[in-house]
Symmetry: C2
Subunit: 194 residues, 2 copies
């Protein structure tokens, strides 16, 4: 009946890929390019949906964690890339608040705007900066993914909570991954199949 723990495995390719990648990404473009690359890898390896997210030290660009969507392979609907990346960063740094005292500001870089669940997760994580490749209707139109009932003023709400938002960074590159995903007839799950 009662589980004493649960374990969330990362795709095997991530470790190798990260070991062969830089550890520091000085510009926002370099950070986003790396995230988009991992979103493509995740569909190429069939290890989840076309999403990746990474936590960086905002000032230095040091990579803290990289997460990818794991919903379907692991049978867990909350394993969006943002939740995975934020969890890995918090467990690594041993803090539930990435914006807590005595540490550098942290930034989350994602290949599209968060869904309503990840919007909340971003706020609770303590990050001070959110960088996204886009926030328009392209994602939902191309992939069928549903972002859920977002607060219409979501961007200002984040800003009001001390989270700076940078939007529309390498949008075309991000969209190309969604199109590649779509062209393979791959499936995005977020509820309402039953």
């Amino acid at each position: 009946m009662a589980s004493s723990e649960y374990t969330i495995p990362m795709p095997p390719w991530i470790k190798t890929e990260l070991e062969n990648s830089p550890t520091v990404y000085p510009t926002l473009e370099e950070r986003m390019r790396q995230v988009i690359k991992f979103s493509q890898h995740n569909i190429d390896h069939k290890t989840g949906g076309p999403f990746a997210a990474a936590v960086f030290e905002e000032e230095t660009g040091k990579l803290v964690s990289m997460g990818v969507n794991r919903v379907m392979p692991l049978n867990c609907s909350s394993l969006h890339a943002e939740i995975v990346a934020l969890t890995l960063a918090q467990l690594k740094l041993q803090t539930y608040d990435l914006g807590g005292p005595g540490q550098p500001c942290h930034q989350l870089v994602v290949n599209w705007r968060p869904c309503v669940m990840c919007y909340g997760a971003v706020i609770w994580s303590g990050i001070k900066s959110l960088v996204i490749a886009g926030s328009g209707s392209e994602l939902e139109e191309i992939t069928g993914f549903d972002e859920g009932p977002m607060n219409s003023d979501w961007k200002n709400e984040l800003e009001g909570r001390g989270i700076n938002v940078v939007d529309d960074l390498l949008t075309g590159d991000a969209v190309r991954v969604f199109q590649s995903f779509k062209s393979r007839n791959m499936h995005v799950y977020n509820s309402r199949e039953g």
Copy 2:
């Protein structure tokens, strides 16, 4: 640099407590009473915040999973009780959609309304019923917990997505746990400490 997995342990007392508890809860009151009891246990044992959530088979009342808040002990801001309970249920049943074909309808019972993150998690989980002890300002007033920028029409949004909502079940019992939490000067984290 790269973690190959992460593990989320449950508090040791949960296993014993569940082994000594019924496996079936015919009425909604019995389900909520058990959830509220576990929210109290979680603060008594100092294993997290004053929140518990359980997934039941809606018709039979069979308990599928019980989760409690693990944010501060495990250093992970997304480990709200709802996320833990839904994850345990999905991993146990090996499905990312608790409302998928060929299975009974599932219900999530929680000792207060979800924050914005868990609101999204509830939608993506596939559950068809959400039962909460309350949704008013008591929780935020007593504990200082922040529910985040919720969609103001959140309840109708859930109903429109096929999730039936039952509110105000054993509200007074739930509030007493928050008051007990408050009286011990315990701390609820959700961001903005830094």
